[in-house]
């Protein structure tokens, strides 16, 4: 950190007020802009009304998932299996809406534990070949590659309609598969609760307090997270499967490959992103978000408010994703490369608006090392 805020702030206050206040006071025409933007208020809203409820909802979903898996383990019918799949989907969607908020309690370890992908199927299969029951405490000790939402997805969807068979009472190893499924849900629940609790007990309080301009201030951290995330959707969720990098298609590298839910999940990601801009919470609350800050700074993009341009581009991304139809993205990269490229390009434009225009308007130090400038 370059600044020792307190002493330096006082020095600056003394100097600046001495130098500038006489002129400021003599200007008796009240200026409405003198009321500065309430950064703390924006952060308060984003923390308490947007992000914390999103993490809480995800934590609740993991509770329901554990309940559902328990029910399925007691009654191994195809109907219960379908309900388990549906519950997984709701849990995953819920996660996708808070996946953007990767800071604070949502550490990189938490992200890996919750959702390592693409699935390392060989590693996952090894777990089942183990002698002895797979318990929650056993799985908690294992690496991120054999737990999380994607492993659950593999265990629930791999093989299509035949996915149920591994749990059928007559199948050898079905006990092991069932215990693995339950342990997966339980370990996921623990991780989700940890993040939620981290927000609830402390981070929701400290987040709005970091309202300065330093690298670790909340506005900076949040802006960097949302920029990195748009970049991540563009490159990893769309670019890699579409063969943007090496010229070869990699359909199997889409997220949610087994459930085919990658396109809806991108939509949920966009929802999580959008809430940071609009300040609208998952429970229907409203309040200031990044758009309010951009509007306060009168940030423009080719004549129109930058906030309008960003929301319009976000909607364009949604439209481009919808245009790919209801089939899985792994099919779309093969059958509709033009449409996938359109989505990729739309995400790129969203990235430019966030990383270039927004950063420039907000004066966010998009800094990766706290290097000196000028």
């Amino acid at each position: 950190m370059i600044r020792a805020p307190f002493t330096k702030f006082f020095a600056a206050t003394a100097l600046l007020t001495a130098a500038l206040l006489p002129t400021a006071c003599s200007d008796d025409a009240p200026d409405d802009k003198l009321a500065s933007f309430d950064r703390k208020g924006m952060l308060q809203n984003l923390g308490s009304n947007v992000m914390l409820p999103a993490f809480a909802e995800f934590a609740d979903k993991t509770d329901s998932l554990v309940t559902q898996v328990t029910a399925f383990n007691q009654q191994q019918t195809p109907a219960e299996f379908a309900k388990t799949q549906a519950m997984w989907l709701r849990t995953a969607n819920s996660y996708k809406r808070c996946e953007v908020y990767q800071f604070g309690p949502m550490t990189s370890t938490a992200v890996a534990d919750l959702n390592f992908w693409p699935a390392r199927t060989a590693s996952i299969d090894v777990v089942v070949s183990r002698n002895g029951a797979i318990t929650e405490s056993f799985l908690a000790q294992q690496g991120a590659t054999v737990k999380g939402l994607t492993t659950l997805e593999y265990k629930l969807y791999n093989g299509g309609a035949a996915a149920y068979d591994q749990y059928a009472p007559a199948t050898p190893d079905s006990d092991l598969n069932r215990s693995y499924l339950l342990a997966l849900a339980q370990v996921l629940r623990t991780s989700a609760h940890q993040v939620r609790d981290g927000w609830q007990t402390s981070y929701a309080t400290t987040y709005p307090q970091q309202d300065g301009q330093t690298i670790n201030s909340s506005i900076n951290v949040t802006a960097n997270a949302l920029i990195s995330y748009i970049d991540f959707i563009k490159n990893n969720k769309v670019g890699t499967p579409a063969g943007k990098k090496d010229g070869n298609l990699h359909p199997e590298q889409v997220e949610a490959y087994y459930s085919g839910a990658s396109l809806p999940q991108i939509q949920h990601n966009l929802t999580g992103l959008e809430r940071l801009f609009t300040g609208a919470g998952p429970t229907g609350s409203t309040g200031p978000g990044f758009n309010a800050l951009l509007d306060h700074l009168e940030a423009k993009y080719n004549g129109q408010p930058l906030s309008t341009a960003i929301l319009a581009q976000l909607n364009d991304c949604r439209t481009k994703a919808q245009a790919l139809g209801t089939g899985p993205l792994s099919e779309a990269v093969r059958q509709n490369p033009t449409g996938v490229t359109a989505l990729y390009d739309s995400l790129k434009q969203l990235l430019v608006l966030a990383k270039v225009d927004m950063v420039s308007a907000v004066g966010v130090t998009l800094t990766f090392s706290d290097n000196d400038g000028d």
Binding site: L16, T23, N235, Y301, K348, V364, D374
Partner: protein, 467 residues
């Protein structure tokens, strides 16, 4: 031999003061640089380095050797401050520091350039004539090279003064004076500060700051030269640099300038400070260390005194070679900042002629760049993301600077050729926002950068700036 405490203060005291303070400040800067892990981050970890045009042969050394270079620099800075083996240590400091700066233009900072220039100049100035280990070891011989101490002091002041002056010239631009940019953006970013926050968002504050900054830079060398205004001018220097330090991420720059500006004070003042500093030492340096050689026949005029007791080897003043060097050294510095006039377009946008021109704090730029590599013949296309090859800091610098974008395009061409892509064409899609304006394309995305060569010439593939 009389003790030097009795000799009147002269330019040698000023030179010694400059040597000690700058040596210590450089030491501090280097320690800070190493302590922050920047040696590894900037010179060991990256796999690719953006060399300077004409200095492509400058390569980083293996990791341990880079640390050895910094170790050597630390030692050299200590020796310079002490005035021990001055000519060797200052030359080592100049060569080592400049070598490190030449490795990667990602890390270019105006004040690094200033330090390199200053160190080069100091190689030829007798800063060890007094208050030095050299003077203690070889009384009467130390510091007897180059120009007289009086001339040396003038050259030193010229070097410091022209940084301010040209920084002021560089501010004579429409965006700085008429739009108060980028100061408006930067001050507004501090709108959250208590009490003065709202003030920071006031447009007139940004205008006042811009105009004051311009006038300050242009005139402060002259206020510092004039004895009567000097203390006030220096107070303004301190306030000005403290403000910039508080508001911006500019590292050591304010401190370096605050210390460098002390060179404008009188030798008697420097002498007083040196005496004060000496009293803080746990030991008592002897006469020669403090004052260097002295003469009982010294006159009251420092100039005549020096002339008589400091016959330089070449006779009166610096030799012809050195005079030519000083002339070229400063002439180049006076001309180089204006080279942007030879290029079309807004230098803040194209950055042609931007570096080494004291363009300090003139732009707020954000950018984004992604490359497309296309195989000639087959038309196969690949998206190349700079982040896959470069550090985040390098990507940040790359994304707004055309010459780096070109350099990296050449790297990509070689990289894809190595991967078996025949005659790769490289296209850059680069969006930049300058001083709060809307983002727009910086580079013509239809131009195959693999076919473009770096030169002093204008780069026609840079698209025009936003109005």
């Amino acid at each position: 031999m009389t003790t030097t405490a009795t000799r009147p203060a002269d330019a040698r005291d000023s030179l010694a003061f400059a040597r000690i303070t700058l040596g210590l400040l450089l030491l501090l800067s280097l320690v800070r640089f190493v302590a922050r892990g920047w040696v590894r981050e900037f010179y060991i970890t990256p796999r690719y380095f953006f060399t300077y045009y004409g200095f492509e042969w400058v390569r980083p050394l293996p990791g341990w050797a880079m640390y050895a270079v910094f170790g050597g620099l630390l030692l050299a800075a200590v020796l310079v401050a002490l005035g021990a083996w001055y000519r060797v240590s200052i030359a080592a400091l100049f060569i080592g520091f400049t070598y490190v700066e030449l490795i990667d233009k990602t890390n270019y900072l105006n004040h690094y350039y200033f330090i390199s220039l200053l160190l080069l100049l100091l190689c030829w100035l007798p800063l060890n004539a007094a208050w030095s280990v050299d003077a203690a070891r070889q009384p009467g011989r130390a510091g007897r090279f180059g120009p007289s101490p009086e001339l040396a002091l003038k050259l030193l002041r010229l070097q410091v003064g022209l940084v301010y002056f040209f920084a002021g010239i560089a501010k004579l631009k429409a965006s700085w004076l008429l739009d108060a940019q980028p100061l408006r953006l930067w001050l507004a970013a501090h709108g959250g500060w208590p009490i003065i926050g709202p003030l920071m968002e006031q447009t007139w504050v940004a205008y006042a700051g811009s105009w004051f900054g311009m006038l300050f830079d242009l005139t402060v060398p002259f206020w510092l030269l004039w004895r009567r205004s000097r203390p006030w001018a220096y107070a303004v220097v301190v306030v000005f640099h403290m403000l910039t330090w508080l508001l911006f991420y500019i590292g050591m720059f304010p401190w370096i300038m605050m210390v460098a500006a002390l060179v404008f004070f009188e030798p008697a003042t420097h002498r007083r400070w040196l005496e004060k500093g000496r009293r803080l030492l746990p030991f008592n340096p002897t006469g020669p260390l403090r004052g260097g050689p002295s003469s009982s026949e010294e006159g009251s005029q420092p100039t005549t005194y020096v002339r008589r007791t400091h016959p330089s080897p070449e006779g009166e003043g610096p030799g012809v070679g050195l005079r030519v060097f000083f002339f070229l050294f400063f002439a180049l510095q006076f001309l180089f900042p204006f080279r942007y006039l030879l290029y079309p377009g807004n230098p803040l946008w194209t950055e042609q002629g931007y570096r080494f021109s004291w363009n300090v704090m003139l732009i707020e730029k954000s950018g984004f760049v992604e490359y497309t590599v296309r195989e000639t013949g087959t038309g196969r296309e690949f998206t190349a993301l700079p982040g896959d090859y470069l550090s985040k800091q390098q990507v940040r610098m790359l994304s707004t600077q055309p010459d780096m974008i070109l350099q990296f395009a050449h790297f990509l061409a070689a990289e894809y050729r190595r991967r078996g892509v025949r005659q790769p064409q490289v296209f850059a899609e680069c969006y930049v926002a300058l001083n709060g304006r809307s983002s727009r394309l910086l580079i013509d995305p239809r131009v195959d950068l693999a076919q473009q060569r770096e030169s002093w010439g204008a780069k026609p593939w840079i698209l025009s700036a936003p109005k």
